[in-house]
């Protein structure tokens, strides 16, 4: 069974509907006993880092995630769920969960592309350039684009964990992967068929 961590952070129903559409059973829960029983876990999220971390700490889900990652069972981070698995986020000056060394940073004020000033948040479809292959991206075309909505981006300290990068006036890490963890800044549940393919792949992924 797949568990979606419920922590009052936005897009959980979108993720649930996407899993339904690919015929995947799941539970939505913040109960660590139920989470313990899951074979794989999705950590989604939309919103602000400060509030999210406060809620996770109150429910001791930060502690739970740190022990879960050591079990070797797969973990998928999405958007805010990706940003707060790092040590720290510049958003609300927030200490985060620390599954991956590094921090989440705000896009610089004056991001430009050619002569055009780019808007923040980045809102819309953009590409991901994979730096190596990964089972979660099997059967996903390099031409596919994904839906992004964010003003902050993950900046892992160890470059080895960067799986994919995206250009938005600068090059940032849009997908990171480390052992049994894969985490993305974009929303696979809102990225059409390529996004659903990623979710499908995650549901069968066996980290080596």
């Amino acid at each position: 069974m797949i568990a979606i961590i419920d922590y009052n952070a936005g897009n959980i129903t979108s993720v649930a509907r996407a899993l339904q559409s690919i015929g995947q059973d799941f539970v939505i829960t913040d109960d660590t006993k139920k989470l313990d029983a899951a074979s794989r876990v999705i950590f989604p999220g939309v919103g602000a880092a400060g509030e999210a971390m406060a809620y996770l700490r109150q429910k001791k889900l930060d502690v739970w995630l740190r022990s879960y990652i050591k079990t070797g069972k797969p973990l998928l981070g999405i958007c805010l769920g990706t940003q707060i698995i790092l040590d720290y986020s510049e958003e609300n000056d927030t200490e985060c969960i620390g599954l991956v060394p590094g921090s989440t940073k705000r896009f610089p004020e004056k991001l430009t592309e050619g002569s055009a000033l780019l808007k923040i948040p980045q809102m819309g479809w953009n590409s991901v350039r994979l730096l190596r292959s990964h089972p979660v991206f099997d059967d996903v075309s390099p031409a596919a684009e994904f839906y992004f909505v964010h003003s902050y981006y993950p900046a892992p300290a160890d470059k080895e964990v960067v799986l994919g990068v995206t250009e938005y006036g600068m090059t940032f890490c849009s997908v990171l992967a480390k052992n049994n963890l894969v985490a993305m800044q974009f929303h696979p549940e809102k990225s059409g068929r390529p996004g659903l393919q990623i979710l499908k792949n995650f549901c069968t992924w066996r980290p080596s």
Partner: protein, 263 residues
């Protein structure tokens, strides 16, 4: 073409009344499809980047019908969509978002009570709150220095508010995006109001969706380049099957305008 960057979005707009499309949309052998969920599915499959629903249901006791439409759309398409029309307060916003919409758009209600923008942004995040602006060209005056005035209630009421001022104010209040509709260009299919779109887009730091006037792919090319819009709303030109979304995107691609071409 510029270096790899964010794609311009092509967004079909569906008007819904009492849970039905208000205009017959002709798909597949000219069969009218009156169901907004089926129309959304069709556009999703054609490569729409997002979908806008505008609920023009007059009576408030029928609003639950729209919530049901939103719920069914969310189970059917896996791209973002927004819902506008008749959103009066935070509860209306919450109902639409909990039913599965990514974004909610406020128009007249925001003019009458600007705090709804701030409240919505605080409760759901700025990315959820779209300010819909209906704009008419007027003479430049002290009150309307840009020469564009905000009108509400379907263009019937002039507010005395300058469109450029309102766009900047809405950004400050917490709007995450602006859907900018030119009443003068709306439905005429002779092209978007380029000057207005350029003016607003250059003066705010949030994305601007141009609306009103699309009749040909050239119109989209113009508004996405000269008009500096981040996205273009389309209606009649795809509802009547004059063009498919894929045809429009391929045209834009020939003009070196980046859109999402793989779906």
């Amino acid at each position: 073409m510029e270096a790899v960057m964010i794609s311009k979005r092509i967004i079909p707009c569906l008007d819904v009344r009492d849970g039905k499309l208000t205009k017959g949309i002709k798909f597949k052998g000219n069969v009218d499809i009156g169901d907004p969920v089926e129309a959304a599915r069709e556009y999703y499959e054609q490569g729409a980047d997002e979908i806008v629903f505008y609920d023009i249901t007059a009576s408030s006791d029928k609003r639950d019908i729209m919530i049901d439409v939103v719920r069914r759309v969310a189970e059917t398409i896996f791209i973002p969509f927004s819902v506008g029309g008749g959103i009066r307060n935070l509860d209306d916003m919450r109902n639409v978002i909990h039913a599965g919409a990514e974004k909610v758009s406020v128009n007249s209600a925001a003019v009458e009570n600007p705090q709804i923008i701030t409240q919505g942004a605080k409760a759901f995040g700025s990315q959820c709150v779209v300010l819909g602006m209906d704009v008419k060209k007027v003479d430049v005056s002290d009150a309307i220095p840009s020469g564009y005035e905000i009108v509400i209630h379907g263009g019937r009421i002039y507010t005395g508010i300058d469109a450029l001022w309102w766009a900047k104010e809405a950004e400050k209040l917490g709007a995450g995006e602006i859907c900018l509709n030119s009443i003068d260009a709306d439905g005429v299919q002779t092209g978007y109001e380029l000057n207005l779109t350029w003016l607003i887009s250059e003066n705010v730091h949030i994305p601007v969706i141009a609306s009103g006037g699309a009749g040909k792919p050239e119109h989209l090319a113009d508004v996405l380049t000269k008009g500096k819009a981040d996205a273009a709303l389309i209606a009649s030109m795809v509802h009547y099957r004059t063009y498919t979304i894929a045809e429009i995107k391929h045209y834009l691609s020939e003009k070196q305008i980046k859109t999402r071409l793989f779906w």
